[in-house]
Each structure stands twice: as structure tokens, then as C-alpha cells.
């Protein structure tokens, strides 16, 4: 319930600064809590569940997403309430769902606001959303996928810059999954001033850096180094990523909203459940990872005619 209040506060404001968010978390948090970790955890939860997005446009600001009744790709007839909400909108949703013959229930979460789920026929869900005054998107994850900007496009668009003078520079090492001093080719770099906030870059050429957000920079570096971070199991429909390098926010949100559940940490990996294979493929390709289902080598062999007429 505590973090519902946080979401209500964010919904009322619409947008704010990261510092303001941390301050609000500090006001609501129990004593002796590690505030930074708590704020980061809440940020991930709110972002993954489609309530808000953080660091909008490279800034250190957040904004609440518009309220949406998000249909789940993995579970037809099921939806979760995403975006901003208030106690009034929640009660209105419950009343409308009851009137439409749909089922509404809440799932408490320790590390974030309650998840409000609605179950019913798609037409009924649309009626519920209309009664509450929110949008209903039958396949919200697919809608998010359509908005993805592939990292290779981000890399192309990012301007080349020289490294800031007198700033310390560390590179992300995929073997140790940590930052190491000094620049490395085709790596994600963190440049830090003596006092203040670091900036993230992708080091593409000697001395030339392209500014990007942290997660995007790491996955871009993985693309350049041909390091596979995302893995998808077709049978279990589970998409996983190392816990130290979670996918960029929008990708993570899209993966979560396939089933309306947050990624689960399991053996050093973040595991997103019930991700359809097509969506997993889009996610992997967009984030610079290889296609999870079709091996490139097989395709090459097919093109040379070695597998003519045969299934790939």
C-alpha cells in the first residue's frame, strides 16, 4: 500500500526529477532502509510494469505513463492496469469491471505498487476501459515493440565526441561484468567528472565516443563485440539476461508486459516468463543480439544451396 501512495503522488504530478523521486521514496520508506537501493528497485518496478518511465530523453527526470488497460500477449483475455492511477480510478475500474462481468483482482508486491489485473472477454475489457476513461490495448507488448528503437540505429544517430578532459574513464568488461579502468575498443565507457554525475558512451574508434544511456551503451558494446547476453528458450518461452546487465528499460518493459509479470532473478539471470517467440526475436534483434531462433550459419548454408528444398 505504501508504494501505491507513491504511484498516486507521481500520477498527480505527472512528471518530476529523479531527486524528487528519491526524496519521496525516502519520506515513505521505513527507517534503516538503504534508500538508494530502494529507489532503484522501485524505479525498475514502476518502469517494468508500465507505470512510469525514468531518465526521459537522457535527462534525469521521470514521467508517468498514461493509464492503459494493457492486454497481455501471453494470456488472451487478461489485462493489467498500467500507467498512472489514483484510488478513485481504481475503484472506478472495479465498478466498471463488475458491471461488465469481468473479474478484477490485485496482486500485492513487496517492491512496488499493487498490480491490478482484469480478466474477461476482449470486448468486455474494452467496455471496462471505456467506462473508466482509459485506453484499452489488446496487445500492449506488441505496441511497445513497435516503438523500439534498435540499438544499432541509436549508435548510428549518436554523434561522435571526444572524451571530456580530466574525466576518469572506465570500460565495461563483459568477462567480469564489471567496470575496468581505461578505454577499451568497442566497449561501453563510463566517464566521470571529479564531482558529479557520470556519463556513458560507446567507444567505437580510437578516442571517439558516442554518448548513450547506460544500458543501451552496454548492449551496443555487446553487439559490437558479438557478445550474446540475451537468451531465449523457445519451448519454455523464457527470455533471460544477466542480472548485472538488464535490457534497456523499454525492452524490459515490453518483455514484462507480455505476461504482466516482472522479471524474476534466478541464478544470476533475470528471467522474463511467457514471452512469445516472435516478440523475443524482435527484442533480441532490436537490442543488437542475434536472432534467437534462426542460426545465421544455417541461413548462410541455405543460401549457398546446400540445404535446397530442405527445412532450415
Amino acid at each position: 500500500m505504501t508504494w501505491d501512495v507513491l504511484l498516486h503522488w507521481m500520477t498527480h504530478l505527472g512528471e518530476g526529477s529523479w531527486e524528487g523521486f528519491k526524496d519521496a521514496v525516502a519520506r515513505l520508506a521505513p527507517q534503516d532502509e538503504e534508500l538508494d537501493d530502494l529507489a532503484v528497485g522501485l524505479r525498475v518496478h514502476l518502469s517494468d510494469m508500465g507505470h512510469a518511465e525514468f531518465f526521459v530523453g537522457g535527462s534525469r527526470r521521470w514521467r508517468v505513463l498514461p493509464p492503459v488497460l494493457a492486454g497481455l500477449a501471453a494470456r488472451p483475455g487478461a489485462a493489467v492496469l498500467c500507467g498512472g492511477r489514483t484510488p478513485q480510478s481504481r475503484s472506478a475500474l472495479a465498478a466498471a469491471a463488475e458491471a461488465a462481468g469481468s473479474l478484477v483482482w490485485s496482486e500485492d508486491a513487496a517492491d512496488g505498487p499493487t498490480t491490478v489485473r482484469v480478466q474477461g472477454e476482449p470486448a468486455a475489457l474494452a467496455r471496462v476501459a471505456s467506462a473508466v476513461g482509459v485506453r484499452f490495448v489488446s496487445d500492449y507488448a506488441a505496441a511497445l515493440f513497435r516503438q523500439l528503437m534498435p540499438v544499432y540505429e541509436l549508435l548510428e544517430r549518436a554523434p561522435e565526441e571526444s572524451a571530456p578532459t580530466n574525466w576518469s574513464l572506465r570500460s565495461f568488461d563483459f568477462e567480469t561484468m564489471s567496470l575496468v579502468d581505461g578505454p577499451r575498443p568497442n566497449s561501453a565507457c563510463e566517464c566521470s567528472p571529479r564531482r558529479g554525475l557520470p556519463r556513458w558512451y560507446v567507444h567505437t574508434r580510437r578516442g571517439k565516443l558516442r554518448p548513450m544511456a547506460k544500458r543501451e551503451a552496454i548492449y551496443t558494446a555487446a553487439m559490437l563485440q558479438r557478445v550474446t547476453l540475451l537468451r531465449y528458450d523457445v519451448e519454455s518461452r523464457r527470455l533471460s539476461a544477466p542480472v548485472k546487465v538488464p535490457p534497456p528499460e523499454l525492452y524490459s518493459r515490453a518483455a514484462c508486459l507480455c505476461a504482466g509479470r516482472r522479471g524474476r532473478v534466478e541464478g544470476g539471470l533475470i528471467v522474463f516468463e511467457e514471452v512469445p517467440s516472435g516478440m523475443a526475436a524482435v527484442l533480441c534483434v532490436a537490442v543488437g543480439q542475434p536472432h534467437p531462433c534462426v542460426a545465421h550459419s544455417v541461413l548462410q548454408a541455405s543460401k549457398t544451396g546446400d540445404h535446397r528444398g530442405q527445412p532450415v
Binding site: H12, E15, R135, K303
Partner: protein, 1109 residues
């Protein structure tokens, strides 16, 4: 020989006179044309009144009669005192005492001397109201007579005539004036009331002592205008209230003030008193752009005529304040010293007054004030009935202007003068409608069809009302609308309108009010009356408009285009509606006053508060006095306040009692002397309270920044203490004024905007000890603007509880509030001893990790008594301010508003044993920690008033609302991207089931795959090259068969199908490998479906081939 010499001398004199007139005219100076005077005229003339160039005329006047002071002495008085007894052959004083209105006493100029003054074009504003003060001629018996227009319409004043004529015409007039006595219209052939000569000579006609006393301010101002050097800060003292404006303004106002003021209860077309006219005159007279002004005016009387015919009947004011189209008719030109020349250089520079016509005032009668302006105006002919001023004047004016030279009667037409005098007496005997009572303006305007103002205006209106009108203050304090750009920005932020830089807030505010004025006030027949009502939010709709009028007063200072006291010009600058007769178009001064009365009544009725209003000694600027009352300090002084705040150690947004501001201001003024003379004057007189209120408003909205001597914008860096896992951590917390960038980057320090008005905290490390001792200054220059974040060096830092999670640096330890203290290691012992003394218990320093080297931290400092701090620890002085500090809860922006689910805890600092606290009027307890026990009151949504001692704060608790409904453009973002498919590296053609659905995708060099965006459901992805081999990927688990072709497809359809058919055909002939993105799932029926696609593709190709043949 003698006769020859005399003749030669005469000719030379004549030539010289003409040359001088021409030279003066071409030099842009008033030109002087002397006329021969008859002996009788000489006898009537003032003892010494030689014809002088205009620049000297007033000076000579001063020797002949009391000019400004004496003239204005009769200004405010009752009509019995205003006018000399008729039997005494005195003319109404208003005629003489209003040089700015074009009135020139006969004593100014010798009778028979017509003086033509080329004035700046804008000075037709200064012509007297034609209806009230018909022009009269000087220099002959008839010269003192009004020049009525046939049909009772006022004739065009010379000022407008002068403007309307081209230079050649003016020259002709001047020559005619030289050649013969000033021509007089036939209708002017009325007996002149005893002219200025008689007035000057007659002791009865002199102002009474009482009247003179009443006019002392005007007199003083006038004297200053004549004798004093230009004011260093003319913008400040020119419009201060209640002192009248200096010099000519006072004189001019005096003339206008005695005009009868008639106003219907629900005024229709504006009928303005001469006081109004005078204010308009001042506005116009101070306009220092004569050429531009002239360019706006019709250049020919016919143009004026057309203007008069097409426009509604001019209001009284419009007639009075001299826009050429509104003031038809002219009679004679005369020399007059313009008031601007007396008012100081800033006025005189651009103020070539066109006071070409001496308007005849109403006959001197005690009831003159009650006579309506229409009746007061002299009828055109003695026999003619007195007509309403609303009578169409066009034809009359045209006739007059065309026949002007010939129509003038002989100068000594006694019968006409008698008739005119009689007619005037009749007119003045007629009862004048009384001015509506103030109570009538307190009633709201009712128009069911009137639409509410725009949201933008409503927001600003709410901001003004909430910040000023409903401001937290004790009930016995008067409320000032102390509008400045900084206060506007603060007021907007308080109502959640966003954070704007002060200049942006000013522009935004002016735009909102201007739009409202154009869309709501101007189109409505009742003009300003539409604002005299309360909106749906229960707030008076006029508040923002009146605030704008105050902002216009705030902006009054001498600049390139305007004099300091040009109020209405400033108002027009903000309203962007253009001037009409010296006033903003559609602006009615009485209604303007009515809005102030309405707001005052609403405030008194609804909230029991008093609005500051001009005092009874407002003097000459009756209407302008309303906004001027609320800005005793002008822009030039307001801009110096941050220096004062910095000097006094105030904090941004702090609420300081007026008494403390008063004491500090006195010290600062003595030490720095930083206010202008006008500002110091305001401090020294009865406006001091208003000054303090204005400064308090400024301080409350001050963001902590100011511009230093190098032109850099500076903001302070605070020290912030917070705890993480019970470990105290120190951080710098730089303030971020609105104009500062989102990201501060000086190459070494990089931080982003944090909470509203702040940057993100920057942890203080061990190495920062010396920096805290010596102070620092971080300078950045984003976009060429130099900004500085700085902190002064210190040996001790007091920290007081704040709205943040921990205490923040403060100008002292707050009595009764839990704070902290930092001090250098060398001062630990005396600090510990001192803190233990003021706390009454033990207090030991702590040394957490990351503590800046050389510093010690005392936490949990809660002073309970006040003692003088030891040397070096002055910063730890105990401050006894009573403050309400909100802690916790979820605050909604910068407003004092919290979420209902997370209300704040209110901490009271400086709470004494004899004081009490109340919420919404109900007494509440304050516990030992200084926390108010609200008993759940603050969880209830609504506005709560918290009162602790003399401190009163308004706190709002709100239920959350959804701030964002949808992102703009969200619906269009997916256009063309209905589906996205992921493909391996390579070049791919994506095919849908409908012939014609085809899209291409190529993987980039850096990627490990390709994304295909297509507006159709993709079924197949085909990849092939020039060589052998191809890949066909089935993108769906169960591919649909291709859509059937139309029997006879159109040619254009076939062409679009080619892009679909050829890839299928080309892939198929290469014996492709089949696959699926879903792994190795492959079904035999997929091949069958693919075969259908191939057949369809072949069919299309056949048809294309056939069509080609």
C-alpha cells in the same frame, strides 16, 4: 528719414519675426508668431508679457501669475473655489492652469499675440476636452472665448488641427496670424469671459488659500519640474503615490481635476472627467516619440472627419485626450509653454506640447462640477440648443474646417459673446448627473451570455488571488498587489502553473491578460465592466487585470521611448491594444476604478481583509493612483533587493516579519544607500508600510540568485545533512533559480536539476574541508550566460530543519527546532560549550566517515535558550523566528500542497510558551518536539489554515488526480508500423497474404539481424541473391493462403502486385530452403500453402506480360 528708418525697422522686425518662426518650426521647436497688438489689447495684457519663444513663455508666466502652483491650487477644490466669481470677470481656472491641456492664460502672452507652437504630434493629447473646454482665442477680446462648433459640437482643437495640417498649411496659418488678429469663427462671436488678464489682475480670481494649500503637492511638483534638475531616477518618483507627478503633470492634472465628473451608474461609452483626461494627457504628453505619434494621425481634416463619422461618438475622455480623430475642430494657434518643458528633461525632451487652442472652461459657477460635460461645453451659437455630445459631429467639423478662416467673426463681436456667455450659463445651471457611488461598483456585472475567461487567464487570476489577495498575513494588514515579474513567477508556481523565469512569467502573464482583453473586454459593449464579477471559482475575474495594471506601474521608468510617468503607454505595452485618446483602447477610467472598488468589496465581504487603496490626498492622478499605490518601489529599486536580501542573510523564499525587514532595511539603506532617491522617499513617508509589504513579497518569491558586479548570475550553495543507515552524510545542495540551466557543468562539477528550485545534492567528501573554510565559486557559462554557484567561507555552519529529509544550512540555529551545527576543529571546544549552554544538556561532536577534514559535526542540536555565541561562532547564533516547517508527507511541487494520503508533519520552530497553534481556527497542541498534533485534520482534502502565534500559513491537502491522459501523438506513432518482424541478417522481402503486401528490410552493418516494419500481417520472409539458393521463412505458425486475385485486375493493381509476385517467383526458382523463426518447426502443409503463393505469383506475372503485349 526717421519715418523711413521706422518703416525699415518695422520691416526688419517683421522679417526677423517670420524668420524666427520658420526657424523654430523647422527645428522642431515651438514656433512663435507674434501679432500686432492693439492698444486695448496691450492694456489688457499682463504687465510684462512680451512675446517670447515658447521655451521661455512659461518662465515669463511665472513672473506674471502663479503658474503651476498657483494654477493648480484650485484643482481639487469645490467648484466654488475653483472658479473665480463671474462678476469678478474671472475665467475658470482650469483654463489657465492647464498648460498641458493646451490652456494658456492670457497673461502668458500679450493680447493680440498669437503664438504658434509646433508640438510633437502626440501632444494633441494635451488638447483640452473639446466638449468641456471649447477652444478660445487669445490675443483679443474674443480670444478668451470658447470656440463652439455649430450644432453644439465642440470644434476641433488646434492641436489636432495642427497635426492634421501639413507644414505648409501651418505656415499659412502662422502668416495669417501675423497679418491680422487671430481669426475667430462666426460662432465664436460671443463675448469672452474676462480673460486671463483679468484673472491675473483680479485679486478675486486668485486661488483661495485653501485651494492653494490643497494644491501644494501639485505646486511642489510643478516647482520641481521647473527648477529642479532632472531626477536621477525619474521613473521612480514620477509616479509615486500619493505625491503628484512633478511639474507640468501636476499642473495639467489640476486643470483636469476640476472638470465635472459625470458617470452613469452603468457607464456606457466612456465619459471621462477631466481628471481622466489629464491622466491620459500625461500619458500622451510623456510620449517622447513625436514622429511616430504623428504618423498615426490623420493628416487631413477630412480624414479626421471620416474617422469621426465612422467611429462611435467619442467619449468624453477621448475628446479630452486629444486623439485627432476624436477631437475635431480647431480655432487658433498660440504659443504655450508645454508642461513637459517644466516637468524635467525626460518629459521635455520628447514633449513638444501642442497646446494650440485655449479651451474655454465652463462659466465659473459653484455648480460647475455638477454640470454634465455636454452641457458644460459651450454651444455653437447662442441661439442653438445645447446638444448632446453624442451628436454626430462630422459634417459640422468639416464645415468648420473648411470655412475656418472666413467664418471667424470680428474680434469684438460683443453680442455674440453675450449670447455665448448666456448659453454657457444656462448650460452650467443645468444639473449634472452625479457620479455613481462606490457602492454601485461593488455590485457584480451580470451578463448570462458572457463566456468565462480562458483557462490561461483563469490560472493567472487564481495565482494572483491566491498569492496576493489571500496571502497569509494577519487580518489587520492591508493587502498589496505588489506585482513584479519575480512575484508573478512565484505566484504561478504556487498554483502549479509551472516554474518560469521571472521575465518569462511576465511575458506569459501579459499575454494571457492581453488575450483576455482582446477577446472578452474589447468586443463587449460594456468593456471593462465584464470583469466586474466573480468566476466559477468564486474569485473576482478582475484580479489579474488589475495586477497587470500594477505591473504597468512597476515598469514606469524613463526609457528611450517614454517618459517616466507615461502610465497608460506602459499599460498599452502590456495590453497591445493601441491607444485611443491617450488611453488603451476600450479602457474606461471610471470602470477601472470600479474594478478596484469591486475587488476591495469582495475581499472585505468574503475574507474580512482590507485592500490597500489610495489615500484621500491622492492628488492629481486619481486613477493611476490605484496601481501606483501597490508599487511604491519601481523596477530599478526592486532589482536591487537581492543585494539587500543577500546582505541581510535572508534565504530564498523566506517569510520574514515586516518588523525585521524594516529594521534590516534601515541598516542596509544607511550602509549601502542602495535605493534611488525615490525609493528612499517612499521609505521615508507614509508609503513605508507598502514598501515593506512589497519587499516581503519579493523575498518570498526570491530564488536566492542575484547578479553580481561582473554581471554574473549567482546562486548560493547550501549544506545539507541527511542520514543513510543512521550514518550522517553531508552534501552540497546548490539552489537552481529559474534561469539556471538544467545541467550545471563547469568541467569539474556536473550535476542535474533536482527538486524544484534545486540542483541534485553533491556529496561532501573528506577533501572538501578547506573548501568549506575558504568558500568557493563554481562558474559555468552555458550558452554564453555566466552563472555562478558559490558559498562563502565559514568557520561554523548552522543547520536548521527543512522540508527535506534533513537539516539544511541556515543563518542561525532555530530556537526550539532540531538542527545541527558544523564547526572547524579549532572551535570544537567553545562550540561544544556554547551548544551545551543553549541546549541545556550534553552535546558532543560526531566524526562520521567522509566528514570533511578539519570539521566537526554536532547533530541533534535543539536550542532552548538564547545566548550570545562566542567569537568565531557567530553563525551559530540562536534565531528566534517563529516558523512552520513541514516535514514528511508527499508534497506536490512548490506549492504548500500535499497528497491526502501522505500529509506532512508540521514542525514549529521558535514556539514560545505563551503562544498557541490552531488549524482551521481550532486550537491544537504542540508537543515538546515542536510538532503540531493535527489530530488527523491534515488528512482531509481541502485548504487548511495553520496559525501559530502571528504566523499564518495556508496548506492544501488534495486527493490525487491523473495529470496525464495520453501522450500527444501517441496514436500516430504506430502509423506504418502495425507489425514488426525480426529477421536474421541479410536482405529480406516480407510478404503478406494479399497480393501487393510487400515490404523490404536490410540488416545494418552493426546489427545482428533486421527488423521489418510493415502495415500488414507478414506471412513470409524471402531472402535471395543473384546466385543460387534462397531462404523462405514462414513468419506465422499457420500461414494463410493468398487472397484471390480479382478476375480482371486493373493495370495499376497489377503493377503494385508485381512487387509482391516477383520475390516469390524469384525465391521459388532458386529452390529455397524453408524455415521458421520459431525454430525447426516445419510442417508439410506449409509447403502446400507456399505453392499457392507461387501459383498466384505466376498468374500475376502472366497477366503483367499479357498487359505488356
Amino acid at each position: 528719414m526717421r519715418s523711413f528708418l521706422q518703416a525699415l525697422r518695422k520691416k526688419l522686425t517683421d522679417v526677423m519675426r517670420r524668420l524666427r518662426a520658420l526657424a523654430l518650426r523647422f527645428a522642431g521647436r515651438p514656433q512663435v508668431v507674434e501679432e500686432k497688438r492693439s492698444p486695448s489689447e496691450n492694456a489688457l495684457a499682463a504687465p510684462t508679457a512680451p512675446a517670447q519663444p515658447a521655451a521661455n513663455a512659461e518662465i515669463e508666466l511665472a513672473g506674471v501669475q502663479p503658474t503651476g502652483p498657483a494654477v493648480s491650487s484650485a484643482t481639487d477644490d469645490a467648484s466654488a473655489q475653483r472658479y473665480a466669481p463671474e462678476g469678478g470677470a474671472a475665467i475658470p481656472l482650469e483654463a489657465e492652469k492647464s498648460p498641458s491641456a493646451g490652456v494658456q492664460p492670457a497673461t502668458d502672452i500679450a493680447p493680440g499675440v498669437a503664438v504658434i507652437e509646433r508640438e510633437r504630434a502626440g501632444t494633441e493629447d494635451e488638447a483640452p476636452p473639446a466638449e468641456q473646454s471649447p477652444p478660445r482665442e487669445i490675443g483679443s477680446d474674443a480670444s478668451a472665448e470658447p470656440v463652439p462648433a455649430p450644432g453644439g459640437r465642440p470644434v476641433q482643437t488646434q492641436s489636432s488641427m495642427d497635426v492634421g495640417l501639413d507644414s505648409r498649411a501651418r505656415e499659412r496659418i502662422a502668416q495669417e496670424a501675423c497679418a491680422e488678429p487671430a481669426p475667430v469663427l462666426q460662432s465664436d462671436a460671443v463675448e469672452s469671459p474676462p480673460g486671463e488678464v483679468e484673472w491675473a489682475a483680479s485679486p478675486e480670481s486668485q486661488p483661495t488659500p485653501e485651494a492653494a494649500e490643497r494644491q501644494l503637492p501639485a505646486q511642489r511638483a510643478s516647482e520641481e519640474g521647473v527648477t529642479s534638475p532632472p531626477c536621477e531616477e525619474p521613473g521612480v518618483d514620477a509616479g509615486t503615490v500619493p505625491s503628484p507627478v512633478a511639474g507640468a503633470d501636476g499642473e495639467a492634472t489640476a486643470a483636469a481635476e476640476i472638470e465635472p465628473q459625470t458617470k452613469p451608474v452603468a457607464p456606457g461609452p466612456a465619459e471621462l472627467s477631466s481628471a481622466d483626461a489629464l491622466e491620459a494627457e500625461e500619458a500622451a504628453a510623456s510620449d517622447a516619440v513625436p514622429v511616430a505619434q504623428a504618423a498615426e494621425m490623420p493628416t487631413h481634416p477630412v480624414e479626421q472627419l471620416s474617422a469621426a463619422t465612422t467611429e462611435p461618438p467619442p467619449s468624453e475622455h477621448e475628446a479630452a485626450a486629444p486623439g485627432p480623430p476624436e477631437t475635431p475642430s480647431a480655432t487658433a494657434l498660440e504659443v504655450t509653454q508645454t508642461p513637459a518643458e517644466n516637468a524635467g528633461p525626460e518629459l521635455a525632451a520628447g514633449h513638444e506640447g501642442v497646446s494650440a487652442v485655449v479651451p474655454a472652461p465652463p462659466a465659473p459657477t459653484p455648480e460647475a462640477e455638477l454640470v454634465p460635460p455636454a452641457a458644460a461645453s459651450t454651444p455653437a451659437e447662442p441661439e442653438a440648443p445645447i446638444e448632446s455630445p453624442s451628436a454626430p459631429p462630422a459634417e459640422v467639423v468639416e464645415l468648420e474646417q473648411r470655412e475656418w478662416p472666413e467664418a471667424r467673426p470680428a474680434a469684438g463681436d460683443a453680442s455674440a459673446r453675450d449670447a455665448a456667455r448666456a448659453a454657457r450659463r444656462r448650460a452650467q445651471d443645468r444639473p449634472r448627473p452625479s457620479r455613481p457611488s462606490p457602492e454601485s461598483y461593488e455590485q457584480p456585472f451580470v451578463d448570462p451570455g458572457l463566456r468565462p475567461p480562458s483557462d490561461e487567464y483563469a490560472l493567472w487570476n487564481e495565482a494572483v488571488v491566491q498569492h496576493f489577495v489571500l496571502a497569509d498575513a494577519s487580518e489587520n494588514e492591508e493587502i498589496y498587489l505588489a506585482i513584479t515579474p519575480r512575484v508573478l513567477a512565484g505566484a504561478l508556481a504556487e498554483v502549479g502553473g509551472g516554474i518560469l523565469a521571472p521575465d518569462d512569467a511576465q511575458v506569459n502573464f501579459a499575454d494571457a491578460v492581453s488575450k483576455m482583453y482582446h477577446t472578452r473586454v474589447l468586443p463587449h459593449s460594456r468593456k471593462l465592466q465584464v470583469l466586474r464579477r466573480c468566476g466559477r471559482d468564486g474569485l473576482p475575474e478582475c484580479a489579474a487585470f488589475l495586477a497587470l495594471s500594477v505591473l504597468a506601474a512597476y515598469r514606469m521608468h524613463t526609457d528611450e521611448g517614454m517618459a517616466a510617468n507615461a502610465y497608460y503607454k506602459r499599460l498599452d505595452e502590456l495590453l497591445h491594444c493601441g491607444l485611443s485618446g491617450g488611453l488603451p483602447r476600450g479602457f474606461d477610467q471610471d470602470e477601472f476604478e470600479g474594478l478596484w472598488l469591486f475587488l476591495r468589496a469582495w475581499l472585505d465581504r468574503e475574507h474580512g481583509r482590507q485592500m490597500a487603496m489610495p489615500g484621500p490626498d491622492v492628488g492629481l492622478r486619481r486613477y493611476v493612483a490605484f496601481p501606483l499605490t501597490h508599487v511604491p518601489l519601481r523596477q530599478v529599486d526592486i532589482e536591487r533587493l537581492p543585494d539587500f536580501f543577500d546582505w541581510a542573510g535572508y534565504e530564498a523564499g523566506q517569510r520574514v516579519p515586516l518588523e525585521r525587514i524594516d529594521a534590516d532595511l534601515s541598516k542596509w539603506a544607511r550602509v549601502r544607500g542602495a535605493f534611488t532617491n525615490a525609493g528612499m522617499d517612499a521609505l521615508a513617508d507614509e508609503r513605508r508600510r507598502a514598501v515593506l509589504a512589497q519587499i516581503a513579497h519579493e523575498l518570498e518569491c526570491w530564488d536566492g540568485s542575484h547578479t553580481d558586479t561582473q554581471g554574473r548570475r549567482t546562486a548560493p550553495v547550501e549544506v545539507f545533512l541527511h542520514w543513510e543507515r543512521r550514518i550522517p552524510l553531508l552534501a552540497y545542495l546548490p539552489r537552481r533559480p529559474a534561469a539556471f540551466p538544467t545541467v550545471f557543468d563547469d568541467g569539474v562539477h556536473v550535476f542535474d536539476a533536482g527538486l524544484d528550485g534545486w540542483y541534485e545534492p553533491l556529496p561532501i567528501g573528506v577533501e572538501d574541508g578547506p573548501e568549506l573554510v575558504s568558500g568557493f565559486s563554481w562558474e559555468a557559462a552555458p550558452n554564453g550566460i555566466r552563472i555562478v554557484l558559490r558559498r562563502a567561507g565559514a568557520s561554523a555552519i548552522a543547520m536548521a530543519p527543512s522540508e527535506f529529509a534533513g537539516p539544511i544550512s541556515h543563518n542561525g540555529l532555530l530556537l526550539g527546532a532540531l538542527g545541527a551545527a558544523l564547526c572547524r576543529d579549532a572551535l570544537v571546544l567553545p562550540a561544544q560549550k556554547y551548544l551545551e549552554s543553549v541546549m541545556g544538556k550534553r552535546c558532543a561532536p560526531v566524526q562520521p566517515p567522509n566528514m570533511p577534514a578539519g570539521w566537526a559535526l554536532f547533530t541533534g542540536v535543539n536550542p532552548v535558550r538564547r545566548l550570545p555565541p562566542p567569537d568565531g561562532l557567530e553563525a551559530l547564533e540562536i534565531v528566534t523566528n517563529l516558523e512552520i516547517i513541514p516535514q514528511g508527507g508527499l508534497r506536490l511541487g512548490r506549492r504548500w500542497a500535499w497528497l491526502a494520503e501522505a500529509p506532512p508533519k508540521l514542525l514549529v520552530a521558535g514556539f514560545g510558551p505563551g503562544e498557541s497553534a490552531a488549524i482551521d481556527g481550532e486550537r491544537v497542541e504542540v508537543d515538546d518536539g515542536g510538532v503540531i498534533r493535527d489530530e488527523g485534520r491534515l488528512t482531509r482534502p481541502g485548504v487548511h489554515v495553520v496559525e501559530v502565534g502571528r504566523v499564518l500559513r495556508r496548506l492544501e491537502v488534495v486527493d490525487p488526480e491523473i495529470a496525464v491522459a495520453d501522450f500527444p501523438g501517441a496514436a500516430t506513432a504506430d502509423v506504418g508500423r502495425r507489425h514488426v518482424a525480426a529477421l536474421p541478417c541479410g536482405s529480406w522481402t516480407v510478404i503478406g497474404s494479399h497480393p501487393g503486401d510487400a515490404a523490404h528490410s536490410v540488416s545494418r552493418s552493426w546489427g545482428q539481424g533486421a527488423l521489418a516494419y510493415c502495415p500488414f500481417d507478414p506471412v513470409w520472409a524471402l531472402s535471395y541473391g543473384y546466385g543460387r539458393g534462397a531462404v523462405v521463412l514462414c513468419l506465422v505458425e499457420q500461414p494463410p493462403p493468398p487472397d484471390r486475385l480479382p478476375r480482371i485486375p486493373a493495370a495499376r493493381l497489377l503493377r503494385s502486385m508485381r512487387a509482391w509476385a516477383e520475390p516469390i517467383y524469384n525465391a521459388n526458382i532458386r529452390r529455397p530452403a524453408f524455415g521458421s523463426p520459431w525454430g525447426s518447426v516445419y510442417r508439410p502443409d506449409t509447403r502446400a500453402v507456399w505453392a499457392d503463393y507461387v501459383r498466384t505469383a505466376r498468374e500475376i506475372k502472366r497477366k503483367l506480360r499479357a498487359q505488356r503485349r
